[in-house]
Symmetry: C2
Subunit: 222 residues, 2 copies
DNA sequence: TTCGATCTCAAAATCGATTTATTCATACCA
DNA sequence: TGGTATGAATAAATCGATTTTGAGATCGAA
Protein backbone atom coordinates (compact mmCIF):
# COMPACT_ATOMS: atom_id res chain seq x y z
CA UNK A 1 0.00 0.00 0.00
CA UNK A 2 1.06 3.52 -0.67
CA UNK A 3 0.80 5.85 2.29
CA UNK A 4 0.91 9.24 0.62
CA UNK A 5 2.86 11.80 2.58
CA UNK A 6 2.65 15.56 2.43
CA UNK A 7 4.23 16.14 -0.97
CA UNK A 8 4.43 13.60 -3.76
CA UNK A 9 6.18 15.69 -6.43
CA UNK A 10 9.11 17.44 -4.82
CA UNK A 11 10.91 17.42 -8.14
CA UNK A 12 11.41 20.84 -9.67
CA UNK A 13 9.74 22.72 -6.84
CA UNK A 14 8.96 26.32 -7.54
CA UNK A 15 10.19 29.17 -5.36
CA UNK A 16 6.63 29.90 -4.38
CA UNK A 17 5.98 26.32 -3.24
CA UNK A 18 9.22 26.17 -1.29
CA UNK A 19 8.28 29.35 0.57
CA UNK A 20 4.82 27.91 1.17
CA UNK A 21 6.27 24.79 2.74
CA UNK A 22 8.79 26.67 4.83
CA UNK A 23 6.26 29.17 6.12
CA UNK A 24 3.69 26.49 6.84
CA UNK A 25 6.23 24.78 9.04
CA UNK A 26 7.20 28.01 10.72
CA UNK A 27 3.60 28.99 11.36
CA UNK A 28 2.69 25.57 12.77
CA UNK A 29 5.79 25.62 14.93
CA UNK A 30 4.86 28.95 16.38
CA UNK A 31 7.78 30.89 15.00
CA UNK A 32 5.46 33.82 14.34
CA UNK A 33 3.67 35.61 17.14
CA UNK A 34 -0.07 35.02 17.12
CA UNK A 35 -2.04 38.03 15.92
CA UNK A 36 1.08 39.59 14.46
CA UNK A 37 0.85 41.50 11.23
CA UNK A 38 2.96 39.92 8.51
CA UNK A 39 5.65 42.30 7.26
CA UNK A 40 5.95 41.32 3.63
CA UNK A 41 9.19 43.18 3.08
CA UNK A 42 10.68 41.55 6.13
CA UNK A 43 9.73 38.08 4.93
CA UNK A 44 11.28 38.85 1.57
CA UNK A 45 14.64 39.05 3.28
CA UNK A 46 13.96 36.32 5.81
CA UNK A 47 13.26 33.75 3.11
CA UNK A 48 15.51 35.34 0.50
CA UNK A 49 12.87 35.50 -2.21
CA UNK A 50 11.27 38.06 -4.44
CA UNK A 51 7.90 39.63 -3.96
CA UNK A 52 5.85 37.63 -6.46
CA UNK A 53 6.56 34.10 -5.23
CA UNK A 54 6.27 35.32 -1.65
CA UNK A 55 2.85 36.82 -2.22
CA UNK A 56 1.68 33.67 -3.99
CA UNK A 57 2.75 31.62 -1.00
CA UNK A 58 0.94 33.98 1.38
CA UNK A 59 -2.21 33.68 -0.69
CA UNK A 60 -2.07 29.92 -0.49
CA UNK A 61 -1.45 29.96 3.24
CA UNK A 62 -4.45 32.23 3.69
CA UNK A 63 -6.69 29.93 1.65
CA UNK A 64 -5.38 27.05 3.76
CA UNK A 65 -6.23 28.85 6.98
CA UNK A 66 -2.79 29.51 8.44
CA UNK A 67 -2.97 33.22 7.66
CA UNK A 68 -5.75 35.75 7.60
CA UNK A 69 -5.99 37.97 4.58
CA UNK A 70 -7.46 41.44 4.94
CA UNK A 71 -8.00 43.19 1.64
CA UNK A 72 -5.69 46.13 1.08
CA UNK A 73 -4.28 45.50 4.53
CA UNK A 74 -2.07 42.53 3.96
CA UNK A 75 -1.84 39.37 5.98
CA UNK A 76 -1.75 38.55 9.67
CA UNK A 77 -1.13 35.50 11.81
CA UNK A 78 -4.44 34.32 13.33
CA UNK A 79 -4.88 34.91 17.04
CA UNK A 80 -4.96 32.03 19.47
CA UNK A 81 -8.53 31.78 20.63
CA UNK A 82 -9.84 29.35 23.24
CA UNK A 83 -13.13 28.97 21.38
CA UNK A 84 -11.38 28.11 18.18
CA UNK A 85 -9.16 25.56 19.88
CA UNK A 86 -12.28 23.89 21.26
CA UNK A 87 -13.67 23.80 17.76
CA UNK A 88 -10.49 22.40 16.22
CA UNK A 89 -10.09 19.72 18.88
CA UNK A 90 -13.74 18.74 18.63
CA UNK A 91 -13.50 18.39 14.88
CA UNK A 92 -10.34 16.36 15.21
CA UNK A 93 -12.15 13.94 17.53
CA UNK A 94 -15.04 13.56 15.09
CA UNK A 95 -13.06 13.32 11.88
CA UNK A 96 -10.10 11.29 13.07
CA UNK A 97 -12.41 8.98 14.97
CA UNK A 98 -14.40 8.42 11.80
CA UNK A 99 -11.26 7.96 9.73
CA UNK A 100 -9.72 5.49 12.17
CA UNK A 101 -12.79 3.27 12.13
CA UNK A 102 -12.68 3.16 8.36
CA UNK A 103 -8.94 2.67 8.27
CA UNK A 104 -9.18 -0.35 10.56
CA UNK A 105 -11.85 -1.84 8.31
CA UNK A 106 -9.88 -1.20 5.11
CA UNK A 107 -6.25 -1.41 6.13
CA UNK A 108 -4.29 -4.30 4.71
CA UNK A 109 -1.11 -6.05 5.78
CA UNK A 110 1.07 -3.42 4.18
CA UNK A 111 -0.65 -0.81 6.32
CA UNK A 112 0.07 -2.82 9.44
CA UNK A 113 3.75 -2.78 8.55
CA UNK A 114 3.80 0.92 7.81
CA UNK A 115 2.04 1.59 11.07
CA UNK A 116 4.46 -0.47 13.13
CA UNK A 117 7.36 1.23 11.39
CA UNK A 118 5.98 4.71 11.94
CA UNK A 119 5.32 4.00 15.61
CA UNK A 120 8.78 2.61 16.08
CA UNK A 121 10.47 5.55 14.42
CA UNK A 122 8.47 7.90 16.61
CA UNK A 123 9.35 6.00 19.78
CA UNK A 124 13.04 6.02 18.95
CA UNK A 125 13.03 9.68 18.07
CA UNK A 126 11.72 11.01 21.33
CA UNK A 127 14.71 9.56 23.15
CA UNK A 128 16.91 12.25 21.64
CA UNK A 129 15.07 15.35 22.71
CA UNK A 130 17.42 17.77 21.00
CA UNK A 131 15.69 17.40 17.66
CA UNK A 132 12.15 18.54 18.33
CA UNK A 133 11.40 19.30 14.70
CA UNK A 134 12.29 15.76 13.70
CA UNK A 135 10.05 14.37 16.43
CA UNK A 136 7.21 16.58 15.25
CA UNK A 137 7.66 15.35 11.72
CA UNK A 138 7.51 11.72 12.79
CA UNK A 139 4.59 12.39 15.10
CA UNK A 140 2.56 13.95 12.30
CA UNK A 141 3.53 11.10 10.06
CA UNK A 142 2.43 8.50 12.58
CA UNK A 143 -1.00 10.01 12.95
CA UNK A 144 -1.35 10.30 9.19
CA UNK A 145 -0.37 6.69 8.69
CA UNK A 146 -2.88 5.63 11.32
CA UNK A 147 -5.84 6.93 9.34
CA UNK A 148 -4.38 6.71 5.83
CA UNK A 149 -6.46 3.79 4.51
CA UNK A 150 -9.78 5.41 5.50
CA UNK A 151 -10.64 5.58 1.81
CA UNK A 152 -11.51 9.26 1.64
CA UNK A 153 -9.13 11.79 0.14
CA UNK A 154 -11.22 14.66 1.40
CA UNK A 155 -11.39 13.34 4.93
CA UNK A 156 -7.60 13.04 4.99
CA UNK A 157 -7.28 16.53 3.63
CA UNK A 158 -9.47 17.99 6.36
CA UNK A 159 -7.63 16.03 9.03
CA UNK A 160 -4.27 17.32 7.81
CA UNK A 161 -5.57 20.84 7.92
CA UNK A 162 -6.93 20.43 11.44
CA UNK A 163 -3.63 18.90 12.56
CA UNK A 164 -1.74 21.94 11.38
CA UNK A 165 -4.18 24.21 13.17
CA UNK A 166 -4.07 22.15 16.35
CA UNK A 167 -0.30 21.91 16.40
CA UNK A 168 -0.01 25.67 16.23
CA UNK A 169 -1.75 25.80 19.60
CA UNK A 170 0.05 22.83 21.06
CA UNK A 171 3.49 24.10 20.12
CA UNK A 172 2.75 27.47 21.68
CA UNK A 173 1.77 25.79 24.94
CA UNK A 174 4.26 24.80 27.63
CA UNK A 175 5.06 21.11 27.69
CA UNK A 176 3.66 18.83 30.40
CA UNK A 177 6.10 15.91 30.76
CA UNK A 178 3.74 13.72 32.78
CA UNK A 179 1.04 13.99 30.12
CA UNK A 180 3.61 13.63 27.37
CA UNK A 181 4.55 10.20 28.73
CA UNK A 182 0.91 9.10 28.70
CA UNK A 183 0.46 10.39 25.16
CA UNK A 184 3.56 8.57 23.98
CA UNK A 185 2.36 5.34 25.54
CA UNK A 186 -0.99 5.76 23.81
CA UNK A 187 0.71 5.75 20.41
CA UNK A 188 1.84 2.19 21.04
CA UNK A 189 -1.56 1.16 22.37
CA UNK A 190 -3.23 2.62 19.31
CA UNK A 191 -1.11 0.41 17.09
CA UNK A 192 -1.99 -2.64 19.15
CA UNK A 193 -5.71 -1.98 18.99
CA UNK A 194 -5.51 -1.24 15.28
CA UNK A 195 -3.71 -4.51 14.59
CA UNK A 196 -6.31 -6.35 16.67
CA UNK A 197 -8.96 -4.60 14.56
CA UNK A 198 -10.75 -3.48 17.68
CA UNK A 199 -12.64 -0.62 16.08
CA UNK A 200 -14.53 0.64 19.11
CA UNK A 201 -11.65 0.52 21.55
CA UNK A 202 -9.26 2.10 19.07
CA UNK A 203 -11.63 4.95 18.38
CA UNK A 204 -12.22 5.54 22.08
CA UNK A 205 -8.50 5.60 22.74
CA UNK A 206 -7.84 8.00 19.88
CA UNK A 207 -10.52 10.33 21.17
CA UNK A 208 -8.99 10.18 24.62
CA UNK A 209 -5.60 10.87 23.07
CA UNK A 210 -6.91 13.96 21.37
CA UNK A 211 -8.68 15.08 24.53
CA UNK A 212 -5.45 14.90 26.54
CA UNK A 213 -3.50 16.69 23.84
CA UNK A 214 -6.19 19.33 23.86
CA UNK A 215 -5.73 19.88 27.57
CA UNK A 216 -2.04 20.44 26.99
CA UNK A 217 -2.72 22.74 24.07
CA UNK A 218 -5.05 24.80 26.24
CA UNK A 219 -1.92 26.13 27.90
CA UNK A 220 -1.39 28.36 24.89
CA UNK A 221 -4.63 30.27 25.47
CA UNK A 222 -4.03 30.70 29.21
CA UNK B 1 -28.74 35.66 15.02
CA UNK B 2 -26.23 36.40 12.38
CA UNK B 3 -26.08 33.89 9.55
CA UNK B 4 -22.72 34.70 8.00
CA UNK B 5 -22.74 34.46 4.25
CA UNK B 6 -19.86 33.98 1.89
CA UNK B 7 -18.16 37.36 2.20
CA UNK B 8 -18.47 39.74 5.11
CA UNK B 9 -16.12 42.52 3.94
CA UNK B 10 -16.88 43.30 0.31
CA UNK B 11 -15.72 46.85 0.88
CA UNK B 12 -12.55 47.74 -0.99
CA UNK B 13 -12.09 44.36 -2.58
CA UNK B 14 -8.78 43.78 -4.23
CA UNK B 15 -8.44 42.80 -7.89
CA UNK B 16 -7.08 39.45 -6.83
CA UNK B 17 -10.06 38.70 -4.58
CA UNK B 18 -12.54 39.77 -7.25
CA UNK B 19 -10.93 37.40 -9.72
CA UNK B 20 -10.95 34.68 -7.09
CA UNK B 21 -14.69 35.09 -6.53
CA UNK B 22 -15.48 35.26 -10.22
CA UNK B 23 -13.42 32.22 -11.10
CA UNK B 24 -14.75 30.22 -8.18
CA UNK B 25 -18.25 30.81 -9.50
CA UNK B 26 -17.24 29.95 -13.02
CA UNK B 27 -15.49 26.77 -11.95
CA UNK B 28 -18.40 25.61 -9.79
CA UNK B 29 -20.81 26.40 -12.60
CA UNK B 30 -18.84 24.30 -15.02
CA UNK B 31 -17.79 27.09 -17.32
CA UNK B 32 -14.39 25.46 -17.68
CA UNK B 33 -13.99 22.04 -19.20
CA UNK B 34 -12.93 19.40 -16.68
CA UNK B 35 -9.30 18.38 -17.03
CA UNK B 36 -8.55 21.42 -19.16
CA UNK B 37 -5.27 23.17 -18.77
CA UNK B 38 -5.68 26.74 -17.61
CA UNK B 39 -4.28 29.20 -20.15
CA UNK B 40 -3.07 32.01 -17.95
CA UNK B 41 -2.68 34.47 -20.79
CA UNK B 42 -6.19 33.72 -21.96
CA UNK B 43 -7.64 34.32 -18.52
CA UNK B 44 -5.79 37.60 -18.33
CA UNK B 45 -7.92 38.85 -21.17
CA UNK B 46 -11.06 37.03 -20.13
CA UNK B 47 -11.13 38.69 -16.73
CA UNK B 48 -9.38 41.88 -17.84
CA UNK B 49 -6.69 41.77 -15.17
CA UNK B 50 -2.94 41.75 -14.94
CA UNK B 51 -0.76 38.75 -14.32
CA UNK B 52 0.02 39.24 -10.64
CA UNK B 53 -3.52 39.41 -9.23
CA UNK B 54 -4.56 36.63 -11.57
CA UNK B 55 -1.80 34.31 -10.37
CA UNK B 56 -2.62 35.10 -6.76
CA UNK B 57 -6.23 34.14 -7.40
CA UNK B 58 -5.16 30.90 -9.09
CA UNK B 59 -2.96 30.05 -6.13
CA UNK B 60 -5.86 30.53 -3.76
CA UNK B 61 -8.19 28.46 -5.91
CA UNK B 62 -5.62 25.67 -5.95
CA UNK B 63 -5.27 25.73 -2.17
CA UNK B 64 -9.06 25.64 -1.97
CA UNK B 65 -9.24 22.62 -4.23
CA UNK B 66 -10.93 24.03 -7.31
CA UNK B 67 -7.73 23.94 -9.33
CA UNK B 68 -4.77 21.60 -9.43
CA UNK B 69 -1.34 23.17 -9.36
CA UNK B 70 1.55 21.40 -11.02
CA UNK B 71 4.89 22.99 -10.35
CA UNK B 72 6.42 24.65 -13.39
CA UNK B 73 3.48 23.41 -15.38
CA UNK B 74 0.78 25.81 -14.34
CA UNK B 75 -2.77 25.03 -13.32
CA UNK B 76 -5.49 22.73 -14.57
CA UNK B 77 -9.16 22.16 -13.88
CA UNK B 78 -9.57 18.90 -11.95
CA UNK B 79 -11.07 15.99 -13.86
CA UNK B 80 -14.51 14.67 -13.02
CA UNK B 81 -13.94 11.32 -11.40
CA UNK B 82 -16.64 8.93 -10.28
CA UNK B 83 -14.58 7.86 -7.27
CA UNK B 84 -14.08 11.40 -6.15
CA UNK B 85 -17.76 12.21 -6.48
CA UNK B 86 -18.51 9.22 -4.26
CA UNK B 87 -16.05 10.60 -1.74
CA UNK B 88 -17.46 14.13 -1.86
CA UNK B 89 -21.06 12.95 -1.55
CA UNK B 90 -20.18 10.61 1.30
CA UNK B 91 -18.41 13.36 3.18
CA UNK B 92 -21.32 15.70 2.59
CA UNK B 93 -23.66 13.13 4.17
CA UNK B 94 -21.42 12.74 7.20
CA UNK B 95 -20.56 16.36 7.78
CA UNK B 96 -23.88 17.97 6.92
CA UNK B 97 -25.71 15.31 8.89
CA UNK B 98 -23.54 16.08 11.88
CA UNK B 99 -23.96 19.81 11.41
CA UNK B 100 -27.73 19.60 11.05
CA UNK B 101 -28.08 17.68 14.30
CA UNK B 102 -26.11 20.32 16.11
CA UNK B 103 -27.89 23.17 14.38
CA UNK B 104 -31.26 21.84 15.46
CA UNK B 105 -30.02 21.62 19.04
CA UNK B 106 -28.52 25.12 19.03
CA UNK B 107 -30.69 27.08 16.62
CA UNK B 108 -32.76 29.85 18.17
CA UNK B 109 -35.91 31.65 17.06
CA UNK B 110 -33.97 33.97 14.79
CA UNK B 111 -32.59 30.94 12.99
CA UNK B 112 -36.11 29.61 12.48
CA UNK B 113 -37.04 32.88 10.80
CA UNK B 114 -33.95 32.94 8.61
CA UNK B 115 -34.60 29.38 7.60
CA UNK B 116 -38.21 30.01 6.66
CA UNK B 117 -37.14 33.07 4.71
CA UNK B 118 -34.38 31.25 2.86
CA UNK B 119 -36.71 28.37 1.98
CA UNK B 120 -39.35 30.76 0.75
CA UNK B 121 -36.94 32.73 -1.41
CA UNK B 122 -35.70 29.49 -2.91
CA UNK B 123 -39.21 28.23 -3.62
CA UNK B 124 -40.20 31.47 -5.32
CA UNK B 125 -37.03 31.60 -7.36
CA UNK B 126 -37.38 28.26 -9.08
CA UNK B 127 -40.65 29.41 -10.65
CA UNK B 128 -38.71 31.70 -12.96
CA UNK B 129 -36.34 29.25 -14.54
CA UNK B 130 -34.58 31.79 -16.70
CA UNK B 131 -32.22 32.84 -13.92
CA UNK B 132 -30.41 29.66 -13.01
CA UNK B 133 -27.51 31.46 -11.37
CA UNK B 134 -29.87 33.23 -9.01
CA UNK B 135 -31.52 29.95 -8.10
CA UNK B 136 -28.14 28.39 -7.45
CA UNK B 137 -27.22 31.26 -5.18
CA UNK B 138 -30.40 30.89 -3.14
CA UNK B 139 -30.03 27.12 -3.06
CA UNK B 140 -26.55 27.34 -1.63
CA UNK B 141 -27.72 29.95 0.81
CA UNK B 142 -30.58 27.76 1.99
CA UNK B 143 -28.34 24.83 2.72
CA UNK B 144 -25.89 27.08 4.51
CA UNK B 145 -28.61 28.59 6.64
CA UNK B 146 -29.86 25.13 7.51
CA UNK B 147 -26.62 24.15 9.23
CA UNK B 148 -25.39 27.62 10.22
CA UNK B 149 -25.92 27.37 14.00
CA UNK B 150 -23.99 24.10 14.29
CA UNK B 151 -21.45 25.93 16.42
CA UNK B 152 -18.33 24.95 14.49
CA UNK B 153 -16.61 27.37 12.16
CA UNK B 154 -14.40 24.62 10.80
CA UNK B 155 -17.30 22.28 10.12
CA UNK B 156 -19.04 25.03 8.16
CA UNK B 157 -15.88 25.73 6.26
CA UNK B 158 -15.48 22.11 5.22
CA UNK B 159 -19.14 21.89 4.24
CA UNK B 160 -18.85 24.99 2.05
CA UNK B 161 -15.83 23.50 0.35
CA UNK B 162 -17.59 20.20 -0.28
CA UNK B 163 -20.63 22.02 -1.63
CA UNK B 164 -18.51 23.80 -4.19
CA UNK B 165 -16.92 20.52 -5.20
CA UNK B 166 -20.24 18.73 -5.38
CA UNK B 167 -21.94 21.47 -7.36
CA UNK B 168 -19.24 21.31 -9.98
CA UNK B 169 -20.35 17.75 -10.70
CA UNK B 170 -24.05 18.46 -10.39
CA UNK B 171 -23.96 21.41 -12.76
CA UNK B 172 -22.10 19.38 -15.34
CA UNK B 173 -24.77 16.68 -15.20
CA UNK B 174 -27.98 16.82 -17.22
CA UNK B 175 -31.04 17.82 -15.21
CA UNK B 176 -33.64 15.27 -14.15
CA UNK B 177 -36.94 17.17 -13.74
CA UNK B 178 -38.72 14.39 -11.87
CA UNK B 179 -35.96 14.18 -9.27
CA UNK B 180 -35.70 17.95 -9.17
CA UNK B 181 -39.31 18.16 -8.01
CA UNK B 182 -38.65 15.69 -5.21
CA UNK B 183 -35.54 17.58 -4.14
CA UNK B 184 -37.42 20.87 -4.11
CA UNK B 185 -40.16 19.37 -1.97
CA UNK B 186 -37.55 18.05 0.44
CA UNK B 187 -36.32 21.56 1.10
CA UNK B 188 -39.70 22.42 2.57
CA UNK B 189 -39.85 19.18 4.54
CA UNK B 190 -36.40 19.85 5.96
CA UNK B 191 -37.60 23.18 7.31
CA UNK B 192 -40.62 21.53 8.90
CA UNK B 193 -38.56 18.85 10.62
CA UNK B 194 -36.02 21.42 11.76
CA UNK B 195 -38.71 23.59 13.30
CA UNK B 196 -40.18 20.53 15.01
CA UNK B 197 -36.69 19.83 16.33
CA UNK B 198 -36.92 16.27 15.09
CA UNK B 199 -33.20 15.62 14.96
CA UNK B 200 -33.24 12.03 13.75
CA UNK B 201 -35.86 12.49 11.04
CA UNK B 202 -34.26 15.69 9.81
CA UNK B 203 -30.87 14.06 9.54
CA UNK B 204 -32.29 11.08 7.73
CA UNK B 205 -34.09 13.32 5.27
CA UNK B 206 -31.00 15.42 4.63
CA UNK B 207 -28.98 12.29 3.95
CA UNK B 208 -31.64 11.10 1.56
CA UNK B 209 -31.62 14.52 -0.09
CA UNK B 210 -27.88 14.33 -0.64
CA UNK B 211 -28.17 10.76 -1.89
CA UNK B 212 -30.71 11.76 -4.55
CA UNK B 213 -28.64 14.77 -5.57
CA UNK B 214 -25.69 12.46 -5.85
CA UNK B 215 -27.56 10.22 -8.24
CA UNK B 216 -28.30 13.23 -10.42
CA UNK B 217 -24.71 14.41 -10.21
CA UNK B 218 -23.51 10.98 -11.33
CA UNK B 219 -24.69 11.96 -14.79
CA UNK B 220 -21.60 14.12 -15.15
CA UNK B 221 -19.16 11.20 -14.94
CA UNK B 222 -19.02 9.41 -18.26
C1' DT C 1 -10.87 70.70 23.27
C1' DT C 2 -12.91 68.04 19.66
C1' DC C 3 -14.24 66.85 15.38
C1' DG C 4 -13.37 66.55 10.60
C1' DA C 5 -10.69 67.34 6.50
C1' DT C 6 -6.25 67.16 4.29
C1' DC C 7 -1.64 65.73 3.74
C1' DT C 8 2.28 62.50 4.10
C1' DC C 9 4.45 58.34 4.48
C1' DA C 10 4.77 53.41 4.55
C1' DA C 11 2.96 49.34 2.96
C1' DA C 12 0.09 46.68 -0.25
C1' DA C 13 -1.22 45.70 -4.74
C1' DT C 14 -0.41 45.73 -9.47
C1' DC C 15 2.06 46.18 -13.90
C1' DG C 16 5.39 45.24 -17.69
C1' DA C 17 9.47 43.07 -18.74
C1' DT C 18 12.79 39.37 -18.03
C1' DT C 19 14.28 34.93 -16.83
C1' DT C 20 13.63 30.14 -16.52
C1' DA C 21 11.54 25.76 -17.53
C1' DT C 22 8.92 22.57 -20.47
C1' DT C 23 7.24 20.82 -24.69
C1' DC C 24 7.48 19.37 -29.13
C1' DA C 25 9.71 18.83 -33.40
C1' DT C 26 13.82 17.57 -35.71
C1' DA C 27 18.18 15.52 -36.42
C1' DC C 28 21.59 12.30 -35.31
C1' DC C 29 23.53 7.89 -34.03
C1' DA C 30 23.51 2.97 -32.53
C1' DT D 1 13.91 1.30 -36.38
C1' DG D 2 14.31 3.01 -31.90
C1' DG D 3 16.24 5.71 -28.85
C1' DT D 4 18.47 9.87 -27.43
C1' DA D 5 20.35 14.47 -27.97
C1' DT D 6 19.54 19.35 -29.83
C1' DG D 7 17.12 23.45 -30.45
C1' DA D 8 13.42 26.63 -31.22
C1' DA D 9 8.84 27.97 -29.59
C1' DT D 10 5.79 28.42 -25.95
C1' DA D 11 4.28 29.01 -21.38
C1' DA D 12 5.34 29.52 -16.42
C1' DA D 13 7.67 31.82 -12.89
C1' DT D 14 10.08 35.59 -11.16
C1' DC D 15 11.95 40.28 -10.85
C1' DG D 16 12.11 45.41 -10.30
C1' DA D 17 9.54 49.40 -10.70
C1' DT D 18 5.16 51.86 -10.40
C1' DT D 19 0.65 52.81 -8.75
C1' DT D 20 -2.72 52.66 -5.31
C1' DT D 21 -4.39 52.37 -0.71
C1' DG D 22 -4.70 52.90 4.36
C1' DA D 23 -2.95 54.72 8.86
C1' DG D 24 -1.50 58.31 11.31
C1' DA D 25 0.00 63.12 11.76
C1' DT D 26 -1.17 67.89 11.12
C1' DC D 27 -3.98 71.68 10.63
C1' DG D 28 -8.13 74.49 11.02
C1' DA D 29 -12.66 75.59 12.35
C1' DA D 30 -16.64 75.12 15.52
Amino acid sequence: MDIPQRKERKESATTSSRVFDAMRQDLVNGRFAAGEKVAINGLKEQYRVGLSPLREALNRLAAYGLLVQENQRGFRVPRLDRRELDDIAGMRRELEGMALERAILNGDAEWESELLAAAHRLKRADLSLDKVDEWERLHGRFHRTLVAPCGSVWLLRFIDQLHDQFDRYRRMAPGVPAVRRILDAQHGELVELALERDVKAARALLEDHIERSYEVALGSCK
